[in-house]
């Protein structure tokens, strides 16, 4: 299993009285995308948050390169990017500033990289407006620009295509494809099928009860 990079073993998670995750097992290797599927309330978000280290499973463990992530959580998180339901943006800052402060706490980004990422998601024309004035789809695109700048091995994406038009959804697909091509891993919670070449995608179906 030297090839296996991210592994979940028998993950159990309780939220109050609710048994959200009931023994989830999976593994994702380099260049693979794991699509987490299941209807609402089956714990897709909880699974991603557990993988990211935000939530602590009652039972089971998450392994990154063969080691329990709890051993070196910060080191694991430095290798990982997580984008949740809502794009993590400050309403009073412009997309440009948001990227600088968001990605910047990991490593400094140059103007050039910033520009390229904004161009990639088609944000050049509105990159200097406060995020407050942008539409939901535009905000999502800014989050994707951030993702494009996250040159870390593991991406955890929670509904990355929400609020996006078809062109935006294709953009998500191509970002993921590029990431897989350079040896990255993706775990994405998503309803419909990804527009990614099918060989690299595996599905993990979460069921209710």
């Amino acid at each position: 299993m030297s090839d296996c990079c991210l592994r979940g073993e028998n993950l159990h998670l309780w939220r109050g009285d609710r048994h959200v995750l009931r023994g989830v097992d999976f593994s994702v290797a380099r260049g693979e995308c794991l699509q987490v599927a299941g209807s609402n309330g089956t714990g897709k978000t909880s699974l991603l948050r557990t993988l990211s280290g935000l939530m602590y499973p009652e039972e089971g463990r998450v392994l990154w390169q063969g080691k329990d992530v709890r051993g070196d959580l910060l080191g694991f998180q430095a290798d990982m990017a997580y984008i949740g339901h809502e794009p993590p943006l400050k309403a009073d800052l412009t997309p440009r500033e948001n990227l600088r402060y968001w990605i910047g706490i990991r490593w400094p980004i140059s103007r050039d990289e910033e520009e390229k990422a904004l161009q990639r998601v088609g944000a050049q024309t509105w990159s200097n407006r406060p995020v407050r004035t942008l539409s939901a789809g535009q905000k999502r695109r800014v989050a994707l620009a951030g993702l494009a700048l996250m040159t870390v091995p593991l991406w955890l994406l929670d509904e990355p295509t929400t609020n996006l038009d078809t062109e935006g959804q294709r953009l998500v697909g191509s970002l993921i494809e590029e990431h897989l091509a350079r040896g990255g891993l993706v775990v994405a919670a998503i309803h419909h099928d990804l527009s990614v070449s099918a060989t690299a995608v595996r599905r993990l179906e979460l069921a209710r009860e």
């Binding site: 943006l89 706490i105 040159t151």
Partner: protein
């Protein structure tokens, strides 16, 4: 797999160009961000100061306009007002960031959350504690405090408010997930802040009487140092718990 495999050699260039350690650089960036955000909303920025001014105005109206009487209660008035106004802005210290998901990104950045939140607390102090230290002598003068007492008042409020911001950051982090947390936040924070109030008011009182206020000031400084060492750890732990 090494991160460098994935992104090629560019990372070496990036880390090479960095003067500070990554954690400190990230903390500095967080501080800059918070200050910039605060200056985008100047109206909210001055609210604690206006509150401080209003509270100090209440006392002459409620007690007596005689300066000799006001001078006696001035240390207490200044410190209670400072305590309450530093409390006022606390509720939003982490709340906005928790709502828009940026706090989550801090927690997942692979950087030390303790440092990042400490940077946010420093920003809070720069935006409330420091202005209060500047305002306090003015309020003091209106309560009949002699001009000679100004250095003592500034010093004690400046040092004491460091401790207040740090204690407050723990309370703000603990009540992060509570809706309408204002009253609860006061209930958690005020008992812990009482030593600061005692030493701060004593230093101010001695400064007004023209005495040597170095002893209570040193005790205040000790509380601030203790706060700097311990509070960020508790704050980070509380934030992680409430992001769960």
């Amino acid at each position: 797999m090494d991160r460098r495999d994935l992104i090629g050699g560019s990372r070496d260039v990036r880390t090479g160009g960095r003067a500070l350690t990554p954690a400190l650089a990230a903390a500095r960036l967080t501080l800059v961000r918070d200050l910039r955000l605060a200056f985008r909303k100047r109206g909210q920025l001055v609210q604690p100061l206006v509150f401080f001014a209003i509270v100090t105005t209440l006392f002459p109206l409620a007690v007596s306009p005689e300066l000799s009487r006001l001078r006696d209660i001035a240390p207490g008035v200044l410190w209670v007002a400072a305590l309450l106004s530093s409390l006022l802005a606390l509720e939003f210290l982490f709340r906005d960031d928790a709502h828009d998901g940026t706090l989550e990104q801090y927690a997942l950045s692979g950087q030390s959350l303790t440092w990042l939140l400490f940077a946010k607390t420093v920003a809070h102090w720069l935006l409330t504690g420091l202005p209060l230290a500047v305002m306090a002598p003015l309020a003091g003068l209106s309560l009949g405090v002699p001009a000679a007492a100004i250095p003592g008042i500034v010093a004690s409020v400046a040092v004491g408010s460091v401790a207040l911001s740090l204690i407050g950051s723990v309370g703000a982090a603990l009540t992060l997930a509570v809706k309408r947390s204002g009253a609860l936040l006061s209930l958690l924070t005020l008992p812990l802040a009482m030593p600061v109030l005692i030493f701060g008011a004593r230093a101010t009182e001695l400064a007004i009487k023209g005495g040597d206020f170095s002893a209570p000031l040193q005790l205040l400084a000790a509380l601030a140092v203790l706060g700097i060492t311990l509070a960020p750890l508790a704050t980070a732990a509380a934030v992680r718990i409430n992001l769960e």
